[in-house]
Structure formats: structure tokens, C-alpha cells
Symmetry: C2
Subunit: 270 residues, 2 copies
């Protein structure tokens, strides 16, 4: 970990007492209001992984965004509610002052080598090097913290939306500046796709993720093997209905291994 | 609600104090070890929805199975950690004695009518009436509590598995005996698909869901309109790797509306 990388600075946690940590939002991950949700999700996971009682690697992480996170300090409370032989279950609360701003749960596991099989196939894409980088959005600082190269479904604000336009995007993604991949970075990358309603409507719409879940297939060695290279991400929504839409994304290694899948429910105002 | 339906009996909660309830596993939902996870998930949601402070309808539910649930009583503790104008965030713990057996979080919301759009399309299927019902499995009592009619991807134990066999299933599902659909029943139905590894391997494999998430698109009126009819469910896995696989399912109304999507990570031993 380089203390100079903005993600490491954003994930820096000061221990307060066993399982309690103080973090601080980082300007490199500023969103329209408060921090980018992927950075907050990564912080909850970082707090679990930093706990001395931690056992195993992430299998599942759910982060619920209970209220706006104000720029500034926050406190994370992590509790290992149950430790089994091969799995460990965590609950997490993030507070600012007296207010809970995030609830989360995580499941860790010690994996064993077993029969394994992939059903989904990595979608074909030209190499990241041959795909142009999307310029960061002026008004959204956190977009500067990712290198995003869209193969399909770019953001095209103020283009006339086709009535049957879908919201699928396929893109190469990595931290910017480059940083060796780990579980916290992967959680952030899993939320780095733009809200599907922006793609669907071809314009800005007020939104906020209410619940984000990441399911991890990779282990630490697979992430280390990716290093600082791009991941290929594939995102879509199934339905927008009365203020909420779902959004799912698969994250593939450059070698075509499925590393993680993320799912979220997002509030929108339209 | 009919107190005579086994699901209502399984979801019966005796109030202990504000936010604390005593439930009891029900033999109609018995699994190989302990209760069917979908019944446990439905109980956590039932406890949230029964709370006097409850505001809105479910948007998101995550249930983590921290340890085996023994047949017998359990205690559910629900906490509304944050209530906003239109959303409400809950944490839930289920205990048996001193042990936490389940952690859960739920997000409720009061929806407003907005622009809405479907991207996913309901897969074509012959009507439920023309699809034969799968016999319940002798050794798994809870399978008697559902009427399942497979259009694609039935369970075929001890058939020679094709090496490239996928684990997609398409099936009509409803409670058995028929029961008017509500959010708790929908959560249970979202977990009623057999573990994908059974379909993939064409045989029994020891498994256990570690984390289950349901994202709800339907409101109560849509569920009431379904009534006691079958839902069309579409389930698949993306990858099996070193002891865990993912499993997702969409649940469609007979009229082709997407009601909910569920995602889980499942432990397997193979």
C-alpha cells in the first residue's frame, strides 16, 4: 500500500478502541453531495479487514446508505457477531455524530480448493490500450480517481435518447493513478459504473444508491495477479420503477476470470 | 392472511418487547438441516414489517446465515436505525440462545409515481397450467410447501451431467397450498430455486447459503394483483469457485412484470 495513493488516504482508519475506527472523507472521492458511495463501501470493508479478529477473505458485502455522508470525519464500528470454522459474520455501523449514515454486513471465509467452473463468459472487448479513456466529469471529482474506457454504453449526456436504448455498459476500469488491486479497491470499482439511469435517459438525474451488495469470487492471489491492470466491467439495469432501479455489474480480470459481481438498488427522482 | 396456511404459521411472531419477537421454526419448511433459508429470510422481513414504527414497503433485504438454525424457537431483534422522509433502514439479528444465527438489514421506502421502464423482458414460457408439477423431494420437506413447474433446467439427480451443462432454470412457482402473494412470501419464493450446483452437477452436493439479497421492484398492489397465481422464476449461476457459487433469480408476475430479483452466495463442498 502506498500512503500516497488517494485510495489509501481515503481508506486510512485511526483505531479508537477494539473494532472502532475513525475515518475521514477524502476530496479525491468527492461526489455531487458527500463522497462517492464506492469509497464508503470500501471503507466499511477496510475496517472489517483491519480488525485483529478478522479471519478469511471477503465473500459478501452489503452496504446500505442510510443518509448523506457529510464531508469530514466518520466513525466505523465493526462487530464479529459469529466466527465459525471457515466463515465469519460481521455487522458494521458508520456514524457521523449521533446519526447512523451507513449499515453494513460482511461475510468472510477461508476458502478450500474445490471443483470449480465458470458458467458466465467474459464478454469480448478490444484491449484497454486500444480503447480511449473517457474524460473525467468536471462536476464530479471522483471520476478523476478512475481510468474508464468504454467499449459499449458510454455516458452521452444531452444526446437524444433512443426510446429503446438499453443501459448496458462494457468498460475497462482501474484506479487512477494505477494501484495494485485488493478487495477494498475491487469494492470501489464495483460501484464505479455510472448510475444506469444516466445512460438510459442520456442525461443527469438526481440519484442515490440505497443498498449495494458485492459478491466476491476472487481470492487475494487472483487480485495480486491483476496488479495495476484494468478490469473489464459489464453493467446493466433490469427495471426502473417508481423511484428505484436495480443495477448489476460483473468485474472480470484482463485474463477473463470473474472476480466479483455487484448488485444495487438506486433511488432516482424523475 | 389465513392462520391455517403453513407460511403464516411459520411467520407467526410473538411480541416480547418493542422490536423483539419470538418465532418458531415450522416443520412444513424443514430442510436437510434446520429450516429452509427462504422461510428464515421471510421471518426477518415479517419482523420488520410488523414493527409499529415501520414506514414504507421493502426495497432491499439482505440476510446472512451465520450458523445453523436448530428446529425450535428463535428470537428476532429489529432496530430502525434511521428513518428519513421516504426511506427507512433496519438492522436485524436472529438468535437461538446466546448465538447469533442470522444477521440482516432491510431498506423500506415510500414510493412515488415516476417515469418507469423495463429493460429486461419476461422470458417466454408455456402457461403454468400446461406445465407439469415437479414431485416434491421425499427427503426435503419444504419442497412440499411449493408448487414448482419447470419449463427449463429441472433437477435431474443422477443423470450424467453434460460437461457444458449450464445451471439455468425457468420455472413457475407458488406457495402450496395456494396463498395470496405478499412481500414475505415473495422473499421465500426468491430462495425456492434449488441450489444451482445441484443442476450443474446433476446430483446432491452439501451446500448452505451464506448471504441472500432480495431487491424488490413490486409494491403491495402489484403483489395483491398476482393473488394466488404462479410466478415465473428464472435462475442461474455465473461461477463456482473454491467452495462458493453465486446464484441470481428474477421473479416475474404472470402478466410479465418484474417483481423482484434475488442474489446469493452459497457455500458448497465438492
Amino acid at each position: 500500500m502506498s500512503p500516497h495513493h488517494p485510495l489509501d488516504a481515503a481508506l486510512h482508519l485511526e483505531p479508537l478502541s477494539e473494532g472502532r475506527w475513525r475515518g475521514h472523507t477524502h476530496e479525491a472521492y468527492a461526489n455531487m453531495v458527500g463522497p462517492f458511495g464506492g469509497a464508503t463501501a470500501a471503507s466499511t470493508l477496510a475496517a472489517v479487514l483491519a480488525h485483529p479478529a478478522r479471519q478469511g477473505e471477503p465473500i459478501s458485502l452489503t452496504v446500505n446508505f442510510a443518509g448523506p455522508v457529510a464531508p469530514g470525519p466518520f466513525e466505523i464500528e465493526t462487530t464479529a457477531v459469529r466466527t465459525n470454522r471457515s466463515t465469519q459474520h460481521w455487522t458494521v455501523l458508520v456514524r457521523q455524530g449521533a446519526e447512523v449514515v451507513v449499515t453494513a454486513t460482511a461475510v468472510l471465509a477461508t476458502r478450500r480448493q474445490t471443483w470449480s467452473a465458470a458458467e458466465a463468459r467474459c464478454p469480448p472487448a478490444p484491449p484497454a490500450e486500444n480503447t480511449p479513456r473517457m474524460p473525467a466529469l468536471d462536476r464530479v471529482r471522483w471520476t478523476q480517481a478512475y481510468d474508464m474506457r468504454f467499449v459499449e454504453g458510454p455516458l452521452q449526456f444531452d444526446a437524444p435518447p433512443a426510446s429503446d436504448q438499453d443501459s448496458t455498459s462494457l468498460a475497462w476500469l482501474r484506479d487512477e493513478p494505477p494501484r495494485a488491486l485488493d478487495f477494498c479497491a475491487l469494492a470501489g470499482l464495483g460501484d464505479a459504473f455510472f448510475p444506469r439511469v444516466f445512460v438510459k435517459r442520456a442525461r443527469w438525474v438526481p440519484i442515490g444508491t440505497v443498498s449495494f451488495t458485492a459478491h466476491f469470487h476472487a481470492d487475494a492471489a487472483m487480485l495480486a495477479a491483476v496488479g495495476t491492470r484494468h478490469l473489464l466491467g459489464h453493467a446493466r439495469a433490469l427495471q426502473y420503477r417508481n423511484g428505484f432501479f436495480d443495477q448489476s455489474a460483473e468485474l472480470w480480470s484482463p485474463g477473463g476470470e470473474l472476480l466479483a459481481v455487484t448488485h444495487q438498488m438506486v433511488y432516482f427522482k424523475e
